[in-house]
Symmetry: none
Subunit: 212 residues, 2 copies
């Protein structure tokens, strides 16, 4: 469906159905735009995107399932230029592609690099955290909070903001859940709240990464 609409709009649109094929084909044809379905079998779509970004700076338009909004945010941070949530209308897709092609090109695509804070390393794409080289086992929520904080280390995040981004804006409940997860995080990172090396408490507001 995607391919036929793009071709009817005048584009040459080779189709592949697996992640490895996508990477091979991208190498071979050097496309201007890649429409990437996150539901691709054989390899995680985000991972495909990251790999594509290692050798091409062409536009990447992601297709995601409506349910996973988090994916879209990750997608954009991983180097995608735009995304569409399913179900979408074919004309929308075509319009997006056209818009992308009207744009000037980015010379330096931003690949989500692992971020380091002292001996702490946060790999947002691989969802891995290491402390002094040792892997740290974090739960999903703990990781997401840490990923959010480390993504913008200069920003003081309000509890509500953390909830909006990590949970869902529609979430209802006590904002201080965040505190508990932060406590667990600090515990696992051997971080003393009174003398924090990683996570700062911003009293009356929320939390922020320590930037010395």
């Amino acid at each position: 469906m995607v391919g036929s609409y793009l071709e009817r709009a005048g584009y040459v649109a080779p189709l592949v159905h697996t992640g490895p094929d996508a990477i091979d084909t991208a190498h071979a044809v050097q496309p201007d735009v890649i429409v990437l379905d996150l539901g691709l079998p054989g390899l995680d779509g985000v991972e495909v995107c990251r790999r594509l970004r290692t050798f091409t700076d062409c536009y990447i338009l992601m297709l995601t399932a409506r349910a996973e909004e988090v994916d879209t945010i990750v997608g954009l941070s991983v180097g995608a230029d735009d995304y569409l949530t399913k179900p979408f209308r074919p004309r929308e897709l075509v319009a997006r592609v056209q818009t992308l092609l009207r744009r000037p090109r980015d010379q330096a695509p931003s690949i989500a690099q692992p971020r380091t804070f002292g001996s702490l390393t946060v790999d947002a794409v691989g969802r891995r955290v290491t402390l002094a080289g040792q892997p740290v086992g974090l739960t999903r929520t703990e990781f997401d909070i840490l990923a959010l904080l480390t993504a913008s280390p200069a920003v003081a995040f309000a509890r509500r903001r953390i909830i909006d981004e990590v949970w869902d804006p529609a979430w209802v409940g006590d904002e201080h859940v965040v505190d508990v997860h932060i406590a667990h995080l600090r515990n696992k990172l051997a971080d003393d709240p009174a003398e924090p090396r990683y996570i700062d408490t911003v009293r009356g507001v929320g939390y922020r990464m320590v930037t010395s």
Copy 2:
């Protein structure tokens, strides 16, 4: 809602509510991104977009009602760079804006920068204050007052105004609480009320940043 989310994300986001206002404001502030609601009264949103394009090449993100797919196509053809259909989640909007701003631009994006007054630096997003490079530990209220004053250094803020903005318009109590917090602030900033370098007393009114 749109404005508050963008501001929380660190952007300066003036709000206007009619098409003519949008055009005037765009002329005045030369924005990096315009978020344009197609449902704007007073002028057809598409027409507003067309007129904006006559004098600016900033990014335009359109907000449209889900029902009108045609609008989105027209919108893109008329010069919008992206669009979102309502209802959308605030995070989506912020992510889209951020993606737009990651694109190569002629000028640097105007993300809220730390403000400096002599050797005083106020970082509103990170909620950090430094004096001659040294971090200053402010309480929430102290910081909020300073952030308010520095946001509009030319404005003399009445005590009541400060309370409305920093506390809550519903707050009841003695307006002169502000004085106490100002005193603490001045103390921490080594600011002498008789010879203020940062915070001026406006007798009978309130306080204002020193503008030398």
